[in-house]
């Protein structure tokens, strides 16, 4: 039974990340996702210190706010002439350091295990139950992530056209009067919220894996955005389920196995994708050579 809850929770993380990750990969913002996932650590800690609990809305807002601050700072440094990769690096390492120091300072007051924040322990998910009235309706993390998934799915569906245009042709989008910067921040806000919602189960660092690896795999398999999003969510779920069994077999971290399996699936797509894979490319090249000869 608890295995089902773990896979269900993991799948919710994977689907939310898979949807958002497609836009990150297309807009070449993959490392910004990495930056956000590190940078929200101080947000998590401060919100935890203020509210005293791990599952409050305060925490979600605190971390989303820090996520937006991160994106804003990166943008600002970039505009002031620092190359984008260096500005990403400066912002997230500095914020992450603040987070680690806060955890070390208040380590006695808070029961927030740094290892747990960074790597997550999805195996503990089924034990923290949400009880409404006197009815046990399942793990708390599951409901939080379900809420997060609904939020992501609703916003992306409602503004699908805008997000699509902003990803492929921001200049055209701006010319058509779409507030490109606003949608950029909405996307980043969603990434922050998803990262916070999933940090307990897969950890802040491994969220990046689910944000980037399944979308990149899907990117090798299709040229259509909605197919890519669906594929990416599917690959995420597949990684979760397979990862769970691999972790069970190896007796190791479930979150780690999920991302590692996603990595294997990427390598398979990289080698064998008919259109964009290594073999496909080589075959087409050989065909062209044969024709010219």
């Amino acid at each position: 039974m608890s295995g089902w809850w773990i896979m269900l929770t993991g799948s919710l993380v994977a689907i939310s990340c898979g949807i958002l990750g497609c836009f990150l990969v297309l807009r070449r913002l993959a490392m910004v996702g990495d930056a956000i996932s590190h940078a929200i650590l101080p947000g998590i800690v401060i919100a935890y210190l203020l509210s005293g609990s791990r599952d409050s809305l305060v925490m979600l807002f605190g971390a989303a706010l820090i996520g937006l601050v991160t994106v804003f700072l990166i943008q600002w440094f970039q505009n002031s002439g620092i190359p984008s990769d260096a500005s990403i690096g400066v912002v997230f390492t500095a914020l992450f350091s603040v987070g680690v120091i806060l955890v070390s300072l208040y380590t006695r007051q808070i029961d927030l295990d740094l290892d747990c924040v960074l790597f997550g322990e999805i195996a503990f998910v089924p034990f923290d139950r949400l009880i409404v009235g006197s009815v046990d309706i399942g793990p708390r993390a599951f409901w939080g992530l379900l809420l997060c998934f609904l939020l992501v799915a609703t916003i992306i569906t409602l503004f699908y056209k805008q997000f699509k245009l902003c990803s492929f042709d921001p200049a055209l989008a701006a010319a058509l009067g779409i507030p490109v910067a606003f949608f950029h921040y909405v996307l980043m806000g969603l990434v922050s919220v998803t990262t916070v919602a999933s940090f307990e189960s897969v950890g802040a660092i491994l969220v990046v894996g689910l944000l980037v690896v399944p979308p990149a795999t899907a990117y090798l398999l299709t040229d259509r955005l909605h197919v890519m999003i669906l594929l990416s969510a599917f690959i995420g779920v597949l990684s979760t389920v397979l990862g769970y069994y691999v972790a069970y077999w190896l007796d190791a971290s479930i979150a780690g196995c999920m991302v590692a399996v996603a990595g294997v699936l990427f390598v398979l797509a990289f080698l064998f994708s008919p259109k964009h894979g290594l073999m496909g490319r080589r075959k087409r090249l050989a065909k062209r050579m044969a024709v010219t000869v």
Binding site: S87, V90, T93, V213, D251, A252
Partner: protein, 310 residues
């Protein structure tokens, strides 16, 4: 208080090692910064984890030398993977970086948890690997770290001209017959080594910062590569020094974040105060430009008046 600490030969060595580490991070980071590879340090630091775990599983001991070898192999594999993916598919650099970072790291986490559940023996030190604890290093670690840092700095000094050329104008470097690809690999190798020795002192996640922040900060003060390398080295050295001292003073605070925050402090100062690129400098030059504009506007009006009136 600080004098008392420095009187202790052990502490003196640790401080010395962190200082040298910061220095080499700043120097190498300058080249990485110019070649737009700042985030490579972050990727390499994460990618080192599985290498270190495998080294521990194979040797069963916590020896820094074996950790370094394992991490170097993993790091080189990661850089190779990034290059291969970006060259042979439509995946862009940023996604390739993020992917190899997270996949290598997750494999590391899997191995780490496997070790924690199964292998008995001395496994302490694998945790400090993540955040660094310079004070927890043994003396032989410190000697090794200091030696490696010195070698890295010497290598940069020796190959300064070559690295400068491949950073600014690889085509020209190729034209005059330099082995550009080999030099690029060599520079990457030096960065891998810096990241790996740095892990012990400041931790995986923050070693990346030592390669980025001093270089970015130095860029605020100069346009000259030679000066930039020296300034970045000095900033890195200062951060390593103050981070270690602060961490020794406040017992349970990890060294890495304190070192990074020292560097960030200097970065913030430069961001505000640098004469050319800083906020104050920009504001001043903008004001000057506006005044000039107003003055020339007046002049223009006067001329028009004279012309019209005459």
């Amino acid at each position: 208080m600080i004098e008392m600490l420095l009187y202790d030969p052990n502490v003196r060595w640790v401080v010395m090692a962190s200082l040298l580490l910061g220095l080499s991070g700043g120097v190498l980071g300058s080249f990485a910064f110019l070649r737009k590879q700042s985030l490579m340090g972050d990727v390499l630091a994460h990618a080192a984890l599985p290498g270190i775990c495998i080294a521990f599983m194979l040797t069963g001991t916590r020896s820094m030398l074996w950790f370094m070898i394992g991490a170097a192999i993993a790091g080189m594999l990661a850089t190779f993977g990034i290059g291969f993916i970006t060259r042979h598919s439509r995946i862009k650099q940023d996604a390739a970086l993020a992917m190899s970072l997270s996949v290598f790291f997750s494999v590391g986490v899997v191995l780490l948890t496997h070790i924690q559940h199964h292998v008995r023996g001395n496994q302490s030190g694998l945790d400090t690997f993540l955040f660094g604890q310079a004070a927890a290093m043994t003396m032989s670690d410190v000697y090794l770290l200091a030696t490696v840092a010195l070698i890295l700095i010497a290598a940069c000094a020796l190959f300064f001209k070559e690295f400068k050329l491949i950073s600014f104008d690889p085509e020209f470097a190729k034209g005059i017959g330099l082995p550009v690809a080999a030099l690029e690999q060599f520079l990457m190798f030096l960065i891998v080594i810096a990241v790996i020795v740095g892990i012990q002192a400041v931790g995986v996640v923050l070693m990346a910062a030592l390669l980025i922040i001093p270089a970015v900060t130095a860029r605020y003060w100069t346009d000259h590569l030679g000066h930039m390398v020296v300034i970045a080295g000095a900033i890195g050295a200062f951060s390593g020094f103050s981070g270690t001292i602060l961490s020794t003073l406040a017992h349970h605070l990890p060294t890495g974040p304190l070192t990074v925050l020292s560097a960030t402090f200097l970065f913030a100062l430069s961001l505000i105060l640098s004469p050319k690129r800083g906020l104050v400098g920009k504001w001043l030059s903008r004001r000057k430009a506006r005044m000039l504009l107003v003055a020339s506007d007046h002049l223009e009006q006067e001329r028009a008046f004279v012309r019209g009136g005459g």
